[in-house]
Symmetry: C2
Subunit: 205 residues, 2 copies
């Protein structure tokens, strides 16, 4: 990146905001395991974050309790930012997920320090809220984060399930936030898990 | 895309929402003229929409009047959806912009009809508000839509300016929303225009 070409504005705060904007362009090269629906290549974090932010405007009627969609959309577009330094951890990678929390905390320290403190604190708080999955907004955002890849899997012949040799228990565990907070949507997921097992995309055990 | 593999939920409304979610994955293959900051490839509409949605959480202090950031973020992630069918029209392509409005209206008819009517109407209204640039939320969203590519250009040796042979007047016209609604940020843009001309990335006339 040509940050050496950056022309300072004369105001440190504005420079920090502009340079942070440039830094997060790196989300476009953090690759996920999911493939795009045309199977041309793996999806990246910027695309995934955008996709669930649109979805958040469509599925709130199935949430058990009302959510603040504007807040959720803000959360969706920043929920994976720390992966710029921590990398994407595949949902079904047990070993990778063991060190995930520490790796992401260090990444957050490094990333959010590049913003003016008030803004770094705000965005970090949104990310931490998402990660803790305790508020209804965070639960709903987490549901979008689960629903998008399962939709992709069902439309790409179970791509990541086949590639990783996943089984029913792992997918059901991953989808638990949807079962708990969006039971009507989970019925569709549940039918898809059965179907994926029947068709051989997913293992029963 | 494997939509033929879609397992219906038994509820038409939920099916429409899920299939619309699948359809908009095509945003990842609508390419813009802008290149990513690592210059590896052209940016796509999903990435651009995500990027300005994060930016909307950073720059509101420079807006002349208060904006509703949650609403703006919602607008940012849907503002280019019609390009799935209408294609991206390069900002400095005069001929392409002549037929843009009609092309995008037809695309919107086709795209939003795939959603339940209430949701299609809501998202279309957000897009139309963005496009009309009359409300303060839309003006602010438009500023993000202008600031992101100019930041990219300044950090990629004026990539799209050089490629298209753009001149000062065209860039100043394109940046007018920032000049009017975020004058402090425009000072930085103005200095970059002068710098780009001095260094040969942009033509004076």
């Amino acid at each position: 990146m040509g940050k050496e070409d950056f022309l300072p504005s004369g105001t440190e705060r504005l420079d920090q905001q502009l340079l942070f904007t440039a830094e997060i362009d790196k989300m476009t090269s953090v690759l996920r395991r999911t493939v795009l629906l045309d199977k041309s290549r793996r999806e990246n974090d910027a695309e995934h974050s955008w996709h669930i932010a649109v979805m958040a405007q469509l599925f709130s009627e199935y949430a058990l309790r009302p959510v603040d969609i504007g807040r959720v959309v803000k959360m969706c577009v920043v929920h994976d930012l720390v992966e710029i330094y921590a990398g994407d951890t595949f949902a079904y990678d047990v070993a990778g997920n063991a060190g995930k929390k520490e790796r992401e905390d260090r990444a957050a320290d490094r990333l959010f320090a590049q913003l003016p403190k008030d803004q770094g604190d705000n965005i970090r708080a949104l990310w931490e809220e998402f990660d803790a999955m305790e508020t209804d907004d965070a639960k709903y955002a987490a549901c979008m984060d689960r629903l998008q890849p399962i939709l992709h899997n069902t439309l790409t012949e179970g791509h990541t399930w086949v590639e990783s040799g996943s089984n029913r228990a792992a997918v059901e565990k991953r989808m638990a936030p949807v079962r708990e907070f969006m039971p009507k949507v989970y019925e569709w997921i549940d039918a898809n898990i059965d179907h994926a097992i029947a068709i051989g995309w997913l293992k029963e055990d």
